[in-house]
């Protein structure tokens, strides 16, 4: 008993602390691609967080100033109901961002659970692959539309629909990563020692199988924003008057000829948000996946 405690203490002393530079976060922060992503997203986040305090309008307040061009009163102009566009874009952007983040979380969790289940037994794996295959036969938006048709057009249901859409994709990535890790000798060793399966899955396989899943999660974040805006654009997603970038653009389409700024601002925000997120994803992939680094033609 005492021996092991002494050993543990000795081990702790021998293992030097990893300098911050070499931790995942440290490496990320020094990665150029990741920095580009942060540079794009930083101002957007700042706008979304701060704008409501100095704009002084509410997102739903209608006035008689229909479709006014951008001015010092209305930074982004007004829409066809006389509502201040800046605050609507800001709120819509926040909704899209939060929804994307939530979808990333839920679909990653679901995907990881499905992925881990395929390491339990061959039968589970076959079942998992079958389920995922079936969902992959749906084009993303069609699956989302079908689910929305069943559940009805509420924000929670968008979250559920997008989670189902992306969980299948993430499960695929998680499965291949989990299966390759579960063939490693140290996992076999743990199995031979009689470590219970759930322990092997959670503590031996999962931490080492996570990096491709995290990369996938980042891209899901971006895709979810695009898909949600698409759903809202065709009128099946976030319902007006609640602002979302997609439904603002849907209104903007009708008045594109006379009020192009209503298209410009929310459009630019979607593009920049997704662009920034994709750069973050590429950065994360660069530092976790040496093969991707090579394929990008970057030296170590």
């Amino acid at each position: 008993m005492t021996d092991t405690t002494i050993d543990k203490r000795a081990d702790k002393k021998r293992v030097p602390r990893v300098p911050f530079k070499r931790t995942l976060l440290g490496r990320l922060l020094r990665c150029r691609t990741f920095q580009v992503g942060m540079t794009i997203l930083g101002p957007i986040l700042l706008f979304i967080l701060i704008a409501p305090y100095f704009l002084g309008y509410s997102a739903l307040e209608m006035t008689s100033n229909f479709m006014q061009a951008p001015s010092s009163h209305h930074l982004f102009g007004t829409d066809s109901f006389g509502r201040d566009l800046a605050i609507r874009v800001c709120r819509g952007g926040r909704n899209s961002l939060l929804l994307g983040l939530a979808v990333m979380g839920t679909s990653t969790a679901a995907g990881v659970i499905l992925g881990l289940s395929s390491a339990i037994s061959t039968r589970m794996d076959l079942l998992m692959v079958r389920i995922v295959d079936i969902f992959m036969a749906f084009p993303e938006i069609l699956l989302a539309l079908g689910i929305m048709a069943i559940l009805g057009q509420r924000v929670v249901n968008i979250l559920i629909a997008l989670t189902i859409v992306y969980a299948a994709k993430t499960a695929r990535v998680a499965r291949s990563s989990v299966l390759s890790i579960s063939r490693q000798t140290y996992v076999e060793g743990a199995r031979a020692l009689g470590v219970p399966t759930w322990r092997i899955l959670l503590f031996h396989i999962l931490p080492n199988a996570m990096s491709p899943v995290l990369v996938q999660g980042t891209f899901v974040f971006g895709w979810a924003i695009i898909l949600e805006s698409g759903l809202s654009f065709i009128g099946v997603g976030v319902q007006p008057p609640t602002p979302s970038l997609g439904n603002i653009l849907s209104d903007a389409r009708i008045v594109l000829r006379i009020a192009p700024w209503i298209t410009f601002f929310p459009g630019a925000l979607i593009m920049l948000m997704v662009l920034g997120i994709n750069f973050l994803g590429d950065g994360l992939r660069e530092i976790t996946d040496p093969k991707f680094r090579e394929s990008q033609g970057k030296r170590r």
Binding site: R130, D133, I134, A137, F138, P139, E140, I141, L142, L145, G146, M148, A149, I150, G152, G222, I226, S229, G230, F233, I234, G235, V236, L249, A252, R253, L256, R257, P260, T263, G267, I270, M271, L272, M273, V274, L275, N278, F279, F292, E294, S295, Q296, G297
Partner: protein, 314 residues
Amino acid sequence: MLSYVFRRLLAMFPNWLILSFLAFAIMDLVPGDPVVILLGPEASPTARAQFVERLGLNKPFFTRYGDWLGGVFRGDLGQALFLGRSVSQAILERARVTVPLGIGALLVAGLLGVPLGTLAAVHQGSLLDTLVMLTAMVGLATPEFLLGLILIFLFAVTLGVLPAGGYAPFSNGVGVALRYFIMPWFALGFSWAALVARMTRASMIEVLTCDYIRTARAKGLPERMVLGKHTLKATANQIVTVLGFVAVLIIGGAFVTEIVFNLPGMGQLLVSAIKRRDYPVVQGVILVTVTGVLLLNLVVDLIYAYLDPRIRYD
């Protein structure tokens, strides 16, 4: 080869059956009584009874599914509730818009993505490479409907050279139809051209560092041959894979693009059917699309086997 196709179709069948079941189950999965949802709570009992009869809702679920499935094999997807015609008729009519839209967009994605990706890979690290990859990043971040709006603003509103939306069938003359299709093709194809370019570049770079490419260059083979024959052939499979799943993405994207450009295609049909709760139409469009995707995957696998002799049909 023919027996391979047949066996693949057979293997596909269970998945297709499950998918058809899911498509059919949509109406029954909607919470609440479909008759109340469709007719409203104030409908008279006779109207209700008629409606139940028309939808066959008085029969048990599996009987109805069996009837529907039997109809599907005869090409009959049932009657649309609000269109006054059969679902197959409506879909066939709309497919005349959606199919050319999808094929054109796929061509844009491939014809733009593959050459640009190759160019970027060959001139890796140059200004051209950076420019192509940055454009691809922006393309990937632009939803098709947004690009559609930008194109409409540029070419229809500002320059006035193309119609802002609408549709003319190819039977009215190719030139006329092209004027309506060219913007939707680009709006839908561009994002995926960006994806294709990125993937092509990545797999090209991987092949270009192989020893046999260096050998080919060392023995004095012209660069055109090295790229056209040795490299492209080795990457062809990966490019086909990408084009395969891009095609699936394009099918989905087409549904949104149709709404932007006011094209009377399957996407418009589906969205209006969802809003009106015209369930037979929703079931039909979903089944047809999903079947299309399954067949598409089969075609991709066949092209694989053709391109890579190591893949055998058995």
